[in-house]
């Protein structure tokens, strides 16, 4: 029997507040607790705090899994077998998408200087040198794109995700700027008279 405003009764009430919140006490006990709460301001305040806390917890947001998780999952599924995984209502082919993105980004980044800089054809020799530059740049970019595709594929299949694959793309671009010979006088002379082949054989 609960006695209002009594130390022992208060302890009993406080011990059962959570159960009362979850409607897990029988009706007789619930009525006794509620009667105690009406007459005991301390327990009533605690009861209110418990209710507010539960409401606040239930108001906390839930989160949607981000797209990169779905892409990595689809890549894993693709690596495991021919059947493609549906994720978020669409069929994804992340390796191909990453490779295409890498190639497109390589073209945009690599060709941007060529597109920005006007190159008047002052003489036939300079025109041929410019063409050699362009062939060299395209060859290097093709090789980088091919290596990047393989790197992206490895990263994605390793479960590191598209973000890691795109990091590899970014690193590849930085390396392009450091490649020796690109735009050098030797390359220009070589390019003016011969075909430059920079695309390595694809290893199977």
């Amino acid at each position: 029997v609960l006695r209002p405003v009594d130390g022992v009764a208060c302890a009993e009430v406080l011990d059962r507040i959570e159960a009362l919140l979850d409607a897990e006490v029988d009706s007789g006990t619930a009525a006794a607790i509620r009667a105690h709460l009406e007459s005991c301001a301390g327990c009533r305040a605690e009861w209110q705090r418990a209710g507010e806390l539960r409401a606040a917890l239930r108001a906390l947001p839930r989160y949607e899994a981000p797209p990169r998780v779905g892409a990595a999952l689809a890549a894993a599924a693709a690596a495991d077998g021919p059947r493609r995984l549906r994720y978020g209502g669409s069929r994804l082919r992340p390796v191909m998408a990453a490779a295409a993105l890498a190639a497109a980004a390589a073209l945009v980044v690599g060709l941007a200087p060529l597109l920005r800089t006007p190159r008047p054809a002052v003489s036939d020799l300079e025109a041929r040198a410019a063409a050699a530059d362009a062939r060299l740049a395209l060859g290097v970019l093709a090789a980088v794109a091919q290596r990047t595709e393989l790197r992206v594929r490895e990263r994605v299949l390793d479960g590191k995700g598209i973000a890691a694959g795109l990091d590899a793309v970014s690193r590849s671009f930085r390396r392009v700027k450091k490649l020796p010979g690109a735009g050098s006088p030797q390359a220009r002379r070589r390019g003016a008279g011969e075909t430059i082949r920079t695309i390595p054989e694809r290893s199977s």
Binding site: A50, E52, L57, R62, E64, A72, L73
Partner: protein, 175 residues
């Protein structure tokens, strides 16, 4: 269990997995990593689990992986630093709650900090019950706990949170 059935479970449970990881780890990037690992594991090994238990299995594996990461952090399972707000993603939904409670960002931040200070298994049980809305039976299956243990753990967890928040309010009032 067929791959199609596994796909269905993944589609239904992926947000629940991610939300659990977010609240357990308090860090968006790590939660994404764990979610990715768990879902890939589910895709590859889900057929070894009984279909009716796969959803609970996903939550259990998620929790275990989060605990592993926290141990690797050396954080003694302390999830969120009390002084800082957790790095959480934007919510998928803003569920409305009672005005006096849900409208207070300060209270929400305080609750997150208090949740971060809660020990296991109280934290997991509170997250699964109050934030994720799982039933006691579902929690019992996910955490492999007796039903009564779930009930007692939840009640104690909420009480600990309440005490933690009271301390925080009292210290704030004293400043």
């Amino acid at each position: 269990m067929t791959k199609a059935a596994i796909e269905t479970v993944i589609a239904e449970q992926r947000s629940r997995v991610f939300t659990l990881a977010v609240y357990l780890l308090g860090h968006r990037e790590e939660a994404e990593d764990v979610t990715q690992e768990v879902l890939i594991q589910c895709w590859r090994r889900g057929d070894e689990v009984a279909p009716e238990r796969l959803a609970a299995w996903l939550l259990r594996v998620t929790r275990n992986r989060c605990i592993d990461r926290l141990r690797a952090r050396g954080s003694r399972l302390r999830l969120l630093p009390r002084a800082a707000s957790p790095e959480l993603p934007d919510p998928v939904d803003e569920r409305p709650g009672p005005e006096s409670v849900a409208s207070g960002r300060e209270l929400q931040a305080a609750i997150l900090r208090a949740l971060g200070g809660l020990a296991e298994p109280y934290r997991s049980v509170v997250i699964l019950r109050e934030i994720q809305g799982l039933s006691y039976d579902e929690i019992a299956e996910a955490l492999e706990m007796p039903l009564n243990t779930v009930r007692v753990t939840l009640h104690r967890g909420r009480r600990k949170l309440r005490e933690e928040l009271r301390e925080e309010y009292e210290s704030a009032a004293a400043c």
